[in-house]
Amino acid sequence: MNEHRIWPLPYSGLPAILNSVAFVLLTFALIAIVSHSETYFLVFFLTGIAMNLVASGKRVVIRNEYIMLEYGFPKPVLRYVVRDVVEIFDINELSRGRLVKYFKALLLSFILVMILPLAYVVVKGAYPNPAYLPLMVIPVIMGVLLLMYLIFTASSYRRFLVKASIATAVVSAYVVSIAVGFLYRDFYGRSVFSDPTAVAVWLVSVLLFAVLAIAITFFAGRNHIVILVDTRGRYYAVGTASTEIAREFMSMVFNVMRESRKGSRDDDDA
């Protein structure tokens, strides 16, 4: 099997924590750049990217009796050995599959972002500049919306993926547009709408962003997520590039599950 077509997902354990913290740091970096705090921006941005790289899934190694999930780019930094698999399923094939039921850590980043305005007030000891309020409030609304989608409305993982991607793309385009507007006024001292060329470039960028979001949604929809559960009740997620690859991977795990009997007798009535 092509190793690049299956990869571990950072939905549980340390990779999930790193990923969530990175998400929050990158949000802080966005606020720092708007607040002209270049040093903070660099610290938040670089730390966030480094954490994301450490948490990114590198490869899945399948041996006779275990499955090893490696995280980290370019070199694997974290390794998880999954033994004694007692449950395996392709969440995309379930009619009511909800990722959040198994990976509560996915909510962590949204919850952290939701408390961002409060954190800002506590850290700064002052109320934020009203001009930056939308920038701070929108990620909060985005988090709440996504939570609502995750918990209440999505009847299946596939449907959730499409709806949540559209919502995220629209809200993100909105946030980026506001940031562009703020930055333009800060740099040039006038509205971005006073410069037709700048507006045109800005609109093209937003359009490209929308195209990128559609492409990501399309490819993410084709990917399948296979979930493994071990005897200790720990959940692990593995991404696969297509339905066929997911089936191929699952049949390899079935072989591991069959092989795990090591050392037992083969007679029928022990």
Binding site: V86, E87, S95, R247, R265, D269
Partner: protein
């Protein structure tokens, strides 16, 4: 090689005690008068055999396996011809029973199948989630909803 689609009696007892009733391996060992290592071995072997049983059922029905849960004794398969999910329950003492989606009617000839499936649901400890369900049909519908989550 064709596997017998049934677990050996003692192995089944141990698996149900550990996963169905949630007993510790040491407790089960004490009850059965065997060592803890022997119980661990039964559990490992039982899991491997249950996997083989589910694989064999899916092969016979030309289906893809979508989900296997060895702790709760069930699997979800997708027959390639039908494109609709089917549910395989391991019934203690009987072996696997298959139920197709949208085929849940517990009258007349399907009565025995429903009884067997409810027996499996109870033995593997799945029933707790559907305590409110009144009859066999309701219990099965409730469980299937749960398996699809």
């Amino acid at each position: 090689m064709m596997t017998m689609l049934k677990l050996p009696k003692r192995m089944e007892e141990v698996l149900l005690a550990v996963y169905g009733y949630g007993k510790r391996e040491s407790e089960v060992a004490k009850e059965l008068g065997v060592s803890k290592q022997a119980v661990s071995k039964f559990v490992r072997e039982g899991r491997a055999r249950l996997t083989e049983i589910f694989l064999e059922v899916s092969e016979v029905l030309h289906a893809d396996l979508v989900r296997i849960n060895l702790r709760k004794g069930y699997a979800i398969i997708k027959p390639r011809q039908l494109r609709v999910n089917a549910y395989v329950f391991y019934v203690p003492g009987c072996g696997p029973r298959v139920l197709f989606k949208g085929d849940i009617k517990c009258s007349e000839e399907a009565r025995t199948l429903c009884k067997d499936i409810v027996k499996a649901i109870k033995a593997w400890g799945l029933i707790e989630v559907c305590n409110g369900a009144s009859d066999e049909e309701d219990i099965i519908r409730c469980i299937i909803k749960l398996l699809e989550e």
